[in-house]
Amino acid sequence: MSKQRKAVALISGGLDSMLAAKVIMEQGVHVEGINFFTGFCVEGHTHAIREHNSAKPNRNNALWVAEQLGIKLHIVDVIEEYKKVLINPKHGYGTHMNPCLDCKIFMVNKAKQWIVENGFDFIITGEVIGQRPMSQTKSKMPIVSKQSGADDLLLRPMCAKNLPATLPEIEGWVDREKLYGITGRSRKPQMEMAKHFGIEDYSQPAGGCCFLTDKFYSAKLVDLWKAQGAKDYKLDDIMLLKVGRHIRPKAHFKLIIAREEGEGRFLQGYKKEFTSLYCSSHPGPLALIDGELSAEDIYFAARIVARYGQGRTEEQVDITVTDKDGSERVIQAKPFTKDEVPNEWHV
């Protein structure tokens, strides 16, 4: 009896990786999933923070996909290692701060290390030629295979027929004839495959599953690096970029102002790391101050915070300022008008 081969599938939570895993499972291969958490994954975060974000199910799609497929999922924290990918991508950035090709190489390399450590035979991805302009073109696929070190242990079941045969195909671990030859950005072939496999519910993230493909998020990251004078970040930095209204009225400080109750609760958790402000005479949002401020700056910041509370039309409101050590004081501030908070301050 031939040995049952084992493959690890990169599971993003989207349809393509789900189908790729399913195609290989159908061939009798034991498949387990792996999902890398970079800190920039869209999964879970904003809908976890915000109260009324969307009607989407509040779930981690990678876990959900694994459960639908009936496979184990290994979620790997790569936050620290990912920094070198984002800060200095060998192949550059995409339209925004997305280093897609380097990211793919990094993840396949991590999967290669994982299969060696865990006695698995090969790696599966849901890549489709032409699906994404930076990382999923026919010319980029061999780059990912080679530079990740996976070489011919990387099988892309969705478009394998358009690529040279890999070791699992050559050795007969999988039947190449039962793989697919999908190209292009149309989703129709994937939808037909989903129907064929009886998959009715699946995630279709618009614009991918990474915050770095988002124009506004990328702008906040660039602003962070510029303000701190170095391309570096901590996990809390990149989490906070996902939350609130970011206003930088002066080069040396920025305000992060909650837009609703869920964000306010999330920002409460950072009151020991940042000076915070809220309007105590009228309902209004919590704001964190990122930067070192003079008394004059604090007053200036208080006027901005007052602008976003229900006392915005008052002549003067009370703003409570809480320092990192928990000490509080109340100052009176005249709320800025809409025109006094110019668009250029909004990051």
């Binding site: 976890a48 981690n60 876990l63 694994a66 184990k72 290994h74 979620i75 790997v76």
Partner: protein, 77 residues
């Protein structure tokens, strides 16, 4: 051997980090041990039970209050 009951503080972490921390903690425990996970991200009420189902662990109890979510699991084989 008596089963252990341990507590994992996953407050302020957003999914999937509570799941990752749970996964890491469970690796240090034995089958039958109990783990109580305290979180502030409501997403854990979906994600940790899903993670348990696909990895053979059992959710014994879930509760929530004061913006905290507490899940107790029994480690599987």
């Amino acid at each position: 051997m008596q089963a252990l009951k341990e507590t994992l503080n996953a407050r302020r972490l957003l999914c999937p980090l509570p799941v990752i921390r749970t996964q890491d903690k469970v690796k240090q425990l034995n089958p039958g041990d109990l783990l109580e996970i305290i979180c502030t991200d409501p997403g854990v009420m979906h994600d940790i039970p899903a993670w348990c189902r696909i990895n053979g662990h059992t959710v014994l109890e879930t509760s929530s209050g004061n913006h905290e979510y507490i899940i107790t699991i029994r480690v599987g084989e």
